[in-house]
C-alpha cells in the first residue's frame, strides 16, 4: 500500500492502485540502462567523428568517398537505375516462391514409383546450392543465348532472371522442406485416418502450417535476393551497381558507391526489422 492509496482509502474512495515498489524499481532500472546506453553510444559516435578526420589520409578519402557535389549530381541517376533492380526483384520473387515449392514437394514424394522425382529434387538442390550465383549467371546468361536464339529471346534480362530463379529456388526449396519436415508425423497419421489422400493431406494439413512456419527464413532469403539482383549487371543490364560504377569512372570518384549503398540500405533495413519483429512474434506465440 502506497501512502497515496492510504489517503484514497481514508477518503472512502475506491483505492487506485499505484505502482508497486517493484515496478518503481524496475522503471528506475530501465531509465538507468537507457541513460547508460545513450551515453555510451554518444561516446562512441564522438570518438569516431572526432578521431577519423584526424587520420592523415582523411582529406583524400573525404574527397573521393564523401563528395557532396558528386553525390547530389549522381543520386537521381542511381535512383532511376534502382528501379530496374526493383523490377527484376518483383518478377523473380513470385517465380522463386512457386518453383521452390514445386521442388520441395518433389523431394517429399513418398511413393516408391516417384523415386526419380525425389532424386531430381535432391540433385537440383545440391547443384544449384553448390555453385556460386555469379557462375550460374554467366553460364546461363551468355551460354544459352550463344546457342543462336534470335532477338528478343536472347535478352540478358530473360536469361539473367532464369539464372537467379534457378539458384534461389534451390535455397527456398530447402527452407520449405525443413518446414514440411517440422510438422509432426502424427498430423499425417491423423489426416490419413480421416481418409484424406496424400495430396489432400499436403494441401489442407501440412503446407498451411509448414509455409507459415518458414516465412521468416524465406524473408531472409528475399533480402539476400534483393542484393543479388545486382549481379545481373555482369551480363549487361545497367542496374544501380553498374550505374554507380559508370559514374565512378566518369568522375574518378567513389561517392556514387556510397549513394548506391544508402539506397540499398533504405530498402533492406526496414525489411530486416520487419522480419525480426515477425520472428519475435512467432517465438512469443510458441512459448
Amino acid at each position: 500500500m502506497t501512502p497515496d492509496g492510504m489517503k484514497d482509502a481514508a477518503a472512502g474512495l475506491k483505492p487506485v492502485r499505484g505502482p508497486t515498489r517493484r515496478e518503481v524499481r524496475e522503471a528506475r532500472l530501465r531509465r538507468r540502462s537507457m541513460l547508460i546506453a545513450a551515453a555510451s553510444t554518444a561516446f562512441v559516435v564522438t570518438l569516431v567523428v572526432g578521431l577519423v578526420p584526424m587520420a592523415p589520409g582523411w582529406e583524400r578519402v573525404q574527397k573521393s568517398f564523401f563528395n557532396p557535389d558528386i553525390f547530389a549530381e549522381t543520386f537521381p541517376g542511381l535512383l532511376g537505375a534502382f528501379l530496374l533492380d526493383v523490377m527484376i526483384f518483383a518478377w523473380c520473387a513470385p517465380m522463386i516462391a512457386v518453383l521452390g515449392l514445386v521442388i520441395a514437394l518433389a523431394r517429399d514424394a513418398r511413393s516408391p514409383a516417384l523415386f526419380p522425382l525425389r532424386l531430381f529434387g535432391t540433385i537440383y538442390n545440391d547443384v544449384f546450392r553448390g555453385v556460386p550465383v555469379i557462375l550460374v549467371i554467366y553460364l546461363v546468361g551468355f551460354g544459352i543465348p550463344g546457342l543462336g536464339l534470335p532477338r528478343p529471346w536472347n535478352s540478358p534480362y530473360i536469361w539473367g532472371t532464369v539464372a537467379v530463379v534457378l539458384t534461389y529456388s534451390a535455397y527456398v526449396a530447402e527452407v520449405y522442406r525443413t518446414g514440411i519436415e517440422s510438422i509432426h508425423e502424427s498430423q499425417r497419421a491423423a489426416a490419413t485416418s480421416l481418409g484424406l489422400s496424400h495430396w489432400d493431406t499436403m494441401r489442407y494439413v501440412i503446407l498451411p502450417q509448414a509455409i507459415r512456419r518458414v516465412i521468416p527464413a524465406n524473408m531472409n532469403l528475399l533480402i539476400a535476393l534483393q542484393k543479388d539482383v545486382a549481379l545481373l549487371s555482369f551480363i549487361g543490364p545497367v542496374e544501380i551497381l553498374r550505374q554507380a560504377g559508370v559514374y565512378k569512372s566518369i568522375h574518378a570518384n567513389f561517392t556514387p558507391y556510397l549513394g548506391a549503398a544508402l539506397i540499398f540500405l533504405a530498402v533492406t533495413v526496414p525489411a530486416t526489422r520487419a522480419v525480426d519483429r515477425m520472428i519475435a512474434r512467432q517465438n512469443k506465440a510458441r512459448s
Binding site: G57, R60, V61, K63, S64, F142, P145, G146, G148, L149, P150, R151, N154, S155, P156, S233, F234, I235, G236, P237, V238, R242, G245, V246, K248, S249, I250, H251, A252, N253, F254
Partner: protein
Amino acid sequence: MIFGKIGISAILVLIFAASTAAADESCAAGKTLKDGVLTIATGNPAYFPWVIDNDPVSGKGFEAAVAYEIAARMGFDRDHVEWTSTTFDQAIQPGPKEFDFNLQQYSITEERDQTIDFSAPYYAAAQAVLVRQPTVDGGATPTLASLKALKWGLAAGTTAPALVQELVAPDSAPLLYDETADTAEALKAGQIDATMMDLPTALFTAAVLLDDGVVLGQFPKGAEAPDSFGLVFEEGNPLRDCANEAIAAMTEDGKLAAIEAEWLQEATGVPVIE
C-alpha cells in the same frame, strides 16, 4: 622465331648499354617504392598486342617494350625492374600505390587526373567499332546513321561509354560489361551488335576472340575525343617528371615510333567513319 628473339634481345641489350650509360641517374634516385628497383604494374591478364602471352617480363608487346624503354632511360636496367599486377580500377582509386607506375591502356582524362597523376601520353589510340559478320550482312555500314541504329555493348570501366554517347548517341541505351572479354562474349551471344574499343584491341578481338569479327570502322585520331594513353602514378609522385623526360626523349629520337611500328600493326584496311 629464335632468330627473332636473339635479334630483339641483341638490339635491346645494345640500347640498354647505350642508354644506361647516358641516363641521368640522379632523377629517379630515392623516389621509387623499393630502393634501386622500379616496380611497374599492368593488368592480369594483360592482352595482346600490349603484352604478349601475359608475360611482361619478356619485354614483348607494345606496353611491355615501352615500359622497359622508359625504365632504361630512367636508369634501371632489366634486372632492376619488377612487375606486379593490379585491376584496372585499383590503379585509379585514391591512396597509396603498390607500384611506381602502372600502364594498361589508361586513357588520360581530367576527372581521373584529380585522384592520380598521368605521365605525358605514350600512345594516341584511334577508337574502333567492332561488329560480327552477320551484322555487316544485315547492312551495317561505317556511317553514323547506321551506327545509331545498332545495339551497343561496352566495357563499363573504360572511357568507351562516354565516347559512344558523344560520337554516336545510339537510339537505345547500351548494355555495359566488366571488361572487353565480356563484350566479346555478348557479341557472340547476339545480345549486342557493336562495341567500341581502341583499334589494336579491336583488331586482336576480331581476329582471336571472335570467329567472325569485323572491325567495321575507326574514328579518326584527333576526333573530338582523342584518346591518349598515359602512365598512371600515385598523386604527387615526383617520379613522374623523370618518366616524362624519358617519354619526351623517346618521342624525340623516334624510339617510341619504332616500338609502335614493331608491335602495333598500322591498320590500313579499316575505313574511317564519316
